[in-house]
Subunit: 251 residues, 2 copies
């Protein structure tokens, strides 16, 4: 059993703790919730409130906000142990060099209210030393079917790509929902379309999967759409994404 | 059995024909492929090449490109019958008034290569006369579990919303894929994230589901992302969508 302790009490910490608890090859040793109110009812016997109380584990995962990682890593009362953070944007070097350093970044969007199946979540791994990489790989394999070796530079780019593929995409869903509301249309009508659009690119290259008036150069429809849109912000986004579909690809 | 004939030989015509062929309450009577090369191998015994050969059916569906609908409707060699087009953008009035007019718009993204389960596709219906609406509703119910009464004005807005929710969303997938390529990252890493982002809004309101640096006002990450992006077009889209998430909602 690989003993894993988690420092943090947000969504990522919560979902990771639950996954390690359920996995056969890992033991969730302790979880540090600095705020005593952030308790995990099911894990209360292993919840501690200060890093000073951390026992000896094989891996410590720091799952706190990006800005707090360096400070938390520096505050750890031990050295020479394997400490990895779970952030998509922070370099591995943010972890105090007194410990062996790594990254354990699960690439998914987490909501506390929605259960997550970790087995399908890709985990991006990095470590200063090969044997630590192997240990992180074992921990990742215990909870997920997909892990990738990704260095700090690549991970930053991957995070940008994820912002386009997830955060910005969700914002387009919001705009679509607003347009529906304005015209007394149920957003439910669009849900099968949204599901199929995401489903298509599981097998098709997204550039090949592109449909719609922009790629068809259907200027009559594009003009009609721009006239219909009343929100200046929506008009700007419509124009820029249409242009990007039509001319963005210079390859 | 409701006898349905289809005029057109593109993706929508093909998928509709297949669905009516399989449904118990409908009979696919004829399908008009003007170009003799656009044959449907499995439906070849019912494929004709001219509207002049159309037999008496209960409903005629015009599934051709938006620009051709008026011309095709005017060319029909009969009058007083129920004729509906399948377009999201064209008004019901584009159909020649010599026939009874309607709209039968399946809201989904169709690729010829990918099979489609019609039962989950919402069909947006409109008809000049109540009894024709009832007939279209029966035809829709024969192949789908969801149909909606949507007038021509609403349908135009719904189509704009669909462009945001599907075409523009797919383009963001393309950009994410390009960023991955540039940094020797497999686009596969992002696929579970894309699936979960689309899955979330099946139950959560997309505005509530918003995550990422923009909604958190995490300017440090936003600046770092803008620095990382090398393509000016990607930078512009990143900036505008970030601003829209942060300031677009004045409600």
């Amino acid at each position: 059993m690989i003993r894993v302790s988690i420092i943090g009490s947000g969504n990522v910490a919560f979902h990771l703790a639950t996954a390690f608890e359920a996995a056969e090859q890992t033991e969730l040793l302790q979880i540090v919730a600095r705020n005593p109110q952030n308790n995990f009812p099911k894990l209360s016997n292993r919840t501690i409130h200060s890093v000073q109380d951390l026992a000896l584990a094989d891996v410590y995962l720091i799952a706190v906000s990006d800005d707090a990682i360096a400070e938390v890593a520096a505050s750890l009362p031990f050295s020479g142990r394997l400490v990895a953070h779970t952030s998509g944007t922070v370099a591995v070097s943010a972890i105090d060099a007194k410990n062996r350093r790594g990254v354990f970044y699960p690439l998914q969007t987490f909501s506390k209210s929605k259960p997550v199946s970790f087995s399908e979540i890709p985990i991006c791994l990095e470590a200063d030393m090969p044997q630590d990489y192997e240990l992180l790989l074992q921990v990742a394999t215990a909870i997920s079917e997909q892990s990738y070796k990704i260095n700090s530079e690549q991970r930053k780019s991957l995070h940008v790509a994820a912002v386009f593929a997830s955060n910005f995409t969700n914002h387009l869903y919001s705009i679509a929902s607003e347009i529906c509301d304005e015209h007394q249309l149920s957003f439910d009508i669009l849900k099968p379309l949204i599901a199929e659009t995401a489903n298509k690119i599981q097998t098709l290259n997204p550039t090949q999967a592109q449909t719609g008036p922009a790629i068809r150069n259907d200027n009559k429809t594009i003009e009609a759409h721009l006239k219909l849109l009343t929100d200046e912000n929506h008009k700007t986004i419509y124009r820029i994404l249409t242009q990007s579909i039509q001319h963005g690809k210079k390859l």
